[in-house]
């Protein structure tokens, strides 16, 4: 009965209310140790700034995921059990979604764990990592930690990853990391270019592993894009990393996965296995994977907000890259730090510096439409945009 109610009339307010049902009874029962915490949560907390700095999904997972979570944790028991028994269902569900096999799937504590496992296993002090100079830094960070040299390839003039130069640098490399779409530049390489890149590296450096991070895949609207999952399951030298942190709204629940050839997957899994996986995250991920309408709605919602924000900046005279993600990379023509500090003072958080573009560009994540309408007012004030321009 409650399931139907939840599904029919689901709002964030209603959800929080539902979650809080136990609050009063619990407080009455145990006023001592933790009553303060519950009461504190019920009182209105200090206003949170707009969080437009970490490429999160402002809505989080959907109601079906919450139902699944509550059902799973009901007796408290499953939260107290190691995850061995839940993994198979997760791997089967992921495999089912892509028409592949469970042995093509490895899961991790966010796709970050998959990325670092790949760097750990396929690079060495003599087999470097190749990455764009401006891309998601997890791989380069881990490479430094384990003493793997990094070949950082500057972006081309249009701020795209320089695939020619990266393919050239891949000769003799352990791993070449390709984030597509790329964070923080937000742009995409079309499927044809990625396919050509994979073929070229495969020929010129057959021992090099190509690590494709498709974290923002679900936000792409450009029809020239295609996932490389079908290639990865065939080619032991290609791995696709995915995450539940973005369109699935689970950044806080830490779950990502890698897809590849069974031999490659076996190696990745043997390194750290599932020891870092959370049972509740698995439950939420399975429910979310089965809720395709929610994912489609999230993509549409993001596309609308993205267009609104790009248009606003364009009217104000600032160019954004062609974003295929849930964030923009905008040329504001002034240091990101200045802009960031000024926005923070007015309750809006935008991303950190991204050298070598920190003097001109800023990365802004997409909130809800309502949040972006409030945010652009602040941006307008900070950038000195006249009201009519906006």
């Amino acid at each position: 009965m409650l399931r139907t109610e939840d599904a029919m009339a689901f709002t964030r307010r209603a959800m929080v209310k539902t979650l809080g049902l136990g609050g009063a009874a619990l407080v009455a029962a145990r006023r001592d140790a933790w009553a303060g915490l519950v009461e504190g949560a019920a009182a209105s907390p200090p206003v949170r700034p707009l969080l437009l700095h970490n490429n999160e999904n402002p809505l989080g997972p959907g109601p079906a995921a919450l139902d699944a979570l509550r059902a799973a944790l009901g007796q408290g028991e499953s939260a107290g059990r190691y995850v061995f028994r839940n993994l198979d269902e997760l791997h089967q569900t992921i495999a089912g979604k892509f028409g592949i096999k469970p042995e093509n799937v490895v899961t991790g504590c966010g796709s970050t764990q998959i990325l670092r496992e790949a760097v750990q296993l396929f690079t060495s002090p003599t087999r470097p990592l190749v990455a764009g100079e401006l891309t998601y830094e997890e791989c380069a960070g881990y490479a430094e930690l384990i003493g793997t040299p990094v070949r950082a390839i500057p972006l081309d003039r249009s701020l795209n990853l320089d695939l020619d130069a990266m393919a050239e640098a891949a000769k003799g490399a352990g791993v070449v990391f390709l984030n597509n779409p790329n964070n923080p530049t937000a742009m995409l390489h079309p499927a044809a270019a990625v396919t050509a890149f994979i073929e070229r590296v495969g020929k010129s450096s057959p021992e090099t592993t190509i690590l494709l991070d498709e974290a923002y895949h679900d936000y792409v609207t450009d029809t020239a894009h295609k996932t490389q999952i079908p290639v990865a399951v065939q080619n032991p030298r290609v791995i696709v990393a995915r995450t539940f942190s973005k369109a699935y709204g689970m950044a806080g629940m830490r779950l990502g996965y890698g897809i590849g050839h069974p031999d490659t997957i076996k190696k990745l899994d043997a390194w750290e296995g599932a020891a870092a996986l959370n049972v509740a995250s698995i439950v939420v991920a399975i429910a979310s994977l089965k809720d395709q309408p929610r994912l489609d709605a999230e993509r549409d919602r993001n596309t609308q907000v993205r267009q609104f924000t790009i248009d606003w900046f364009k009217k104000a005279g600032f160019a954004s890259t062609n974003s295929q993600t849930n964030f923009l990379f905008v040329n504001i023509g002034r240091p990101a730090k200045e802009f960031r500090d000024a926005c923070r003072a007015q309750g809006v958080l935008v991303a950190r510096d991204f050298p070598p573009f920190e003097k001109t560009h800023v990365r802004i994540s997409m909130g809800t439409m309502d949040e972006m309408k409030r945010a652009v007012e602040v941006f307008g004030k900070v950038l000195g945009v006249k009201a009519k321009a906006a």
Binding site: A28, G60, A65, R70, A71, G80, H91, T112, A274
Partner: protein, 398 residues
């Protein structure tokens, strides 16, 4: 009206109609293999398995923790740095609970991550790992992956770590793994013995790091025992690992931590998986740490079940090592694999093999008192009374 587990169940789980479907997984790593070996799904659906194979807390997290976990669902889309409470709040809550500073605390996705990082940070092909045999295998498994040599020091005739021999083996070692109480033998060393061991290793091999794993700390009742947190704060490269997987009942939610000097802690933070904390778990952990009465109750509950189970096995004539944990290590006088498989047929799942004692000893985790009463019927049927008792045990012969 007092809060019973049942009423809480109504709060968080109005939808639950039965156990989640349990599906067997393909072989996924050694630990999982062990966990699943001989564990058929409950095909009939009536009478759930009694899962006393992985040293889990049969009750799961306390109501405060679960409430906080589900309540923070609206923050599921926020990285743990942005969630409320945030990962910084959890560090502070742990620091407050342990009377240390936040810079003395490194968080892990379970203490497994702390153990793995320790081996990666402190050992190499020329600086070996010292561990006991048997002990928790996570560190030696990581060492094997890295090509780090491992010196395994057999436990003594009472199943206790042989600290004298471990100290000898520690010369020129990168890391000593000291599990106290020890899994799977369940025995504990006194605060005095730990302090003397640390002092000796610091003196004889000052470059060697010492990892004291206190996963079962909250279950210890021996008054001679004390945490080694003080030693960790006092010495560089000495650190303590803790987990919320045991008494806190959060094995599925993945929180562990290390406590040590800030320099040591910085190294752990550098090696940590990026965003290794779950935002909802952070809220649950903060709530748990603010509810020490729940842990006291859990310790008392476990102590009663431990005593009951120990007496049961002793009544059948089997030696039980003096347990300070939520499991018992029983000399069943036959291969643990046989025992495990026979029990599994009756839906009682006990621990896997622990070489080099797998031919004579079995590890049985403690469920609820009710579960243990039911399990004991199966044990009686499978083991029967020990015959021709009084013979020398496998440990005594060493």
């Amino acid at each position: 009206m007092p809060l019973s587990r049942r009423s809480f169940l109504n709060v968080v789980s109005p939808l639950r109609t039965g156990p989640l479907p349990v599906s067997l997984m393909a072989a996924r790593g050694r630990e999982a293999d062990f966990a699943l070996g001989g564990s058929p799904p409950d095909a009939t659906g009536d009478g759930a398995e009694i899962r006393i194979d992985s040293n889990e807390n049969p009750l799961g997290p306390g109501p405060a923790a679960l409430e906080a976990f589900v309540r923070s669902f609206p923050d599921a889309g926020r990285y743990p740095t942005n969630a409320r409470p945030s990962v910084a709040d959890l560090r502070e809550a742990i620091a407050r609970r342990q009377s240390v500073r936040p810079e003395n605390v490194a968080l892990g996705s379970g203490s497994w991550e702390i153990l793995a990082s320790a081996v990666r940070i402190y050992t190499s092909s020329s600086r070996h790992l010292v561990t006991a045999s048997p002990s928790f295998e996570s560190p030696e498994r990581v060492a094997e992956q890295l090509g780090t040599p491992v010196k395994r020091v057999p436990v003594d005739k009472d199943g206790r770590l042989d600290l004298d021999k471990m100290a000898q083996a520690a010369r020129w070692a990168g890391l000593v793994f000291f599990c106290n109480p020890n899994n799977p033998t369940s025995t504990v060393h006194s605060a005095k013995a730990v302090a003397e061991f640390v002092a000796r290793v610091r003196r004889e091999s000052p470059e060697t790091a010492i990892l004291i794993d206190e996963a079962y700390h909250d279950y210890v009742t021996d008054p001679g025992y004390a945490t080694a947190l003080g030693l960790a704060l006092e010495h560089p490269n000495v650190f303590v690992a803790r987990t919320l997987s045991k008494a806190y009942g959060m094995a599925g939610l993945r929180v562990g931590y290390a406590i040590g000097q800030p320099r040591t802690i910085e190294a752990f933070n550098r090696w940590a998986i990026t965003f290794n904390q779950n935002s909802l778990t952070v809220a649950a952990a903060v709530a748990s740490l603010g509810d020490p009465a729940h842990i006291d109750a859990e310790r008392a509950r476990n102590t009663e079940v431990r005593q009951f189970t120990t007496r049961f096995f002793e009544g059948l004539g089997y030696r039980v090592l003096p347990s300070q944990t939520n499991f018992v290590f029983v000399e069943i006088g036959r291969p643990s694999k046989e025992f495990k498989e026979a029990c599994a047929k009756h839906k009682v799942m006990v621990g896997r093999e622990f070489p080099p004692l797998e031919k004579t000893y079995a590890r049985v985790s403690l469920g609820t008192l009710d579960e243990m009463k039911r399990a004991n019927h199966v044990f009686t049927e499978v083991l029967g009374k020990r015959t021709g008792g009084g013979g020398a045990s496998a440990l005594a012969q060493k």
